[in-house]
């Protein structure tokens, strides 16, 4: 089990709806909570993370700010298409500190994962750290 969402592990952000140069989406995958990615207004916002290969995902830890409605989807295709929803949740607001949320799954395989922020408690939301625990899956020929 290791964090497959680290950029060191080969995960990449292939799609993001907001891009501020000072707060790029790579900040989500560097494992540090001080660097963050911030949205530039309007909802829904989404970003897609592609793993190095097919992964078996068991737990997702997300530290973010002002996020309210969140939907997590996965795709097992080669390209990030045909996403299926695996979890949807409304987060609780926390004004002075980050929201720390955990999502548990059993035996969900994914090559790409899409996170859709449907609504927020403020005009702008920020995601500080994304932690996905999982194992690599050996792909059949």
């Amino acid at each position: 089990m290791f964090d497959v969402a680290l950029s060191g592990a080969g995960a990449k952000v292939v799609l993001t709806t907001s891009s501020d140069e000072n707060y790029p989406p790579e900040n989500m995958l560097d494992g540090k909570a001080e660097s963050f990615w911030i949205s530039t207004g309007m909802f829904p916002q989404e970003f897609v993370i592609s793993f190095a290969g097919m992964m078996n995902v068991s737990k997702i830890k997300l530290s973010c700010f002002h996020v309210r409605g969140l939907s997590i989807q996965r795709s097992v295709q080669k390209e990030p298409l045909d996403f299926e929803v695996i979890d949807e949740r409304e987060l609780t607001p926390s004004d002075a500190s980050l929201q720390l949320e955990e999502f548990k799954f059993d035996e969900t395989t994914a090559r790409h994962m899409k996170f859709i922020i449907k609504s927020g408690f403020d005009h702008f939301v920020s995601v500080h750290k994304l932690n996905i625990d999982g194992t690599a899956v050996r792909e059949a020929e």
């Binding site: 990449k12 952000v13 292939v14 799609l15 790579e26 897609v48 390209e79 990030p80 298409l81």
Partner: protein
Amino acid sequence: MNRPPSGGGRRATTGARPSSSLRQGAPPGTAMRMPQGTGAPGTARPGTRGGVPGGVGVLDAKLSVTDRPTTQQGLGGMRTGKKGPQRVVMDKSYFIGMLRTKLNELQAENNSLQRGIEQANEENNSYLSYEKRAESLANEVKEQQGQLGDYNTLVDKLNTDTAMEEVLEDHNQLKAQNDVEAKNIDKIFTQRQEIEQNIHQVEQEIQQCRRMADTLVDDMNPQMRQKYMSLKQTNESLARELEARQQELDSLNTKKENLEDDLSTSQVKQEAVRLYEQLHELEEKKAQLIAEDQSRGTPTEERERLLKQVKEDNQEIASMDRQIQEYRDQITTLQDEIRQLDLDLEEHQGEKNMKYKELKKREETMTEFLEGYEDTKLQELEHKGNLEENIVAILSHMSRNLGRTKHMPNPQELARMQDDLSFKQTEMHKSEATASSLAGESARLQMDLQKVEQLESKITTELETLKAKISTMNQELEDYSDLNKLRGESDKRKQKLQEEKVTLTTRRDTFKKAVQELSAHYEATKTQLNENETYAQLGNLERKWQHHEQNNFVMKEFIAAKSMESDYRPLVAAVKTQINEYNKLVQESLARGVQR
């Protein structure tokens, strides 16, 4: 038509019929049967036949089968054929036989009529009982209807699922209303009773008064009573006359109103009225003139009359003049008396008063003078001293001037002095001009000084920035001189940018794919929507609505623009503010005027 009573009698009841026929008909041979169509005016004629002989001369041409033909002389005129061979000898037995037959017939007729009467009575009674039954049935029907209504409401309430509470509420409301109504009725009833009692009392009082009056009348002696009676009678007769006259007056009034109404409608009548009025006026005038003429009498009489009148008037005038004169004399005497009294008063007191006043005044002036004497004396002495000094000074001045006139300069010296004076004046002007120009110069120079100061500050700031630029440029020189470092940095940047490019291209591709997917989805939903009939209908309706709204809006704008043209309210507001200002100004000016 000629016998309305009989017709009416016939129409009233069936029972009256026999009486009339018995009354009127002398020996009708057979009883008159009820003609068909009793009561109709057209068939009233048959009744006339039973009427007084000779009353009606015309026989009705309409014969009904049951009517017997009659002549003026009554029934039995043409029935000779039916009775068979007649007896020629008309003696007592014949007539008796005739009478007997007639009597029998009458009896039979009577019986039948009696039977008819009894039948009618029975019918009446049954009619009454039927009526009563009908009434009771009607009541029952009403009750049943009421019950039906109740059931209907109940069914309605059940159907509409009204809650029990509502029904109870309605019931309570109705009960309350009913109670209120009942109370009202009771109140009204008690009021009515009270009023009736009052009426009773008043009536009793009236009766008492009448009785008292009667007793008084009885107590009076016969003479008085007679007088009283006569007066009473005259009173009554007069009252009756009054009533009659009043009625006449009313009828005349109504007639007059009717005539006036008629009058107002027809012009001819109006003309007639006008002419009548004229005529009336002229007749009056004529009567007047005639009366005058009559009462004129002969000229001498007139003259005498006039003279007499004149004398009377003169006498009156004279008397009045005398009275006026008397009053005037009285007035003058009284006024003289008043004046005398005033004078006396004044004389008596006036002399003494005046003397007293004079003495007082003199005393006052003397005391004043005595008080101010010292001061005034000093002042006068000073003044005198000053004047003396002045005189001395003037005298010395005069003496000096006299001495100086000897040293008066000649005209040349005078001219010189004048030249000097003019020269000095020009000098003075010039110096004034130089002074003003110098002031202007100094102002200009001060401004220049300020500008120069600003310039100096600007230059210092520029100098600083330039120094800073120099330092940065120096630094940059150093940086740029280090080519290696530059190259390394640019390489690093290039690498970073390449990495960024890669990530951004991948992101762009994913975006493109996502956008393609989404737009395909969007197109699909759009086509689906367009195929939907309801959507097409909605679209049409929306377009129609837009069209209508556009028309609406255009008209509203037009109306608003036009109504604004005729809108007087802003003008009213402006006028009001101006009037207020004007009022304030007027008030202020008046206040200032008052103060001054």
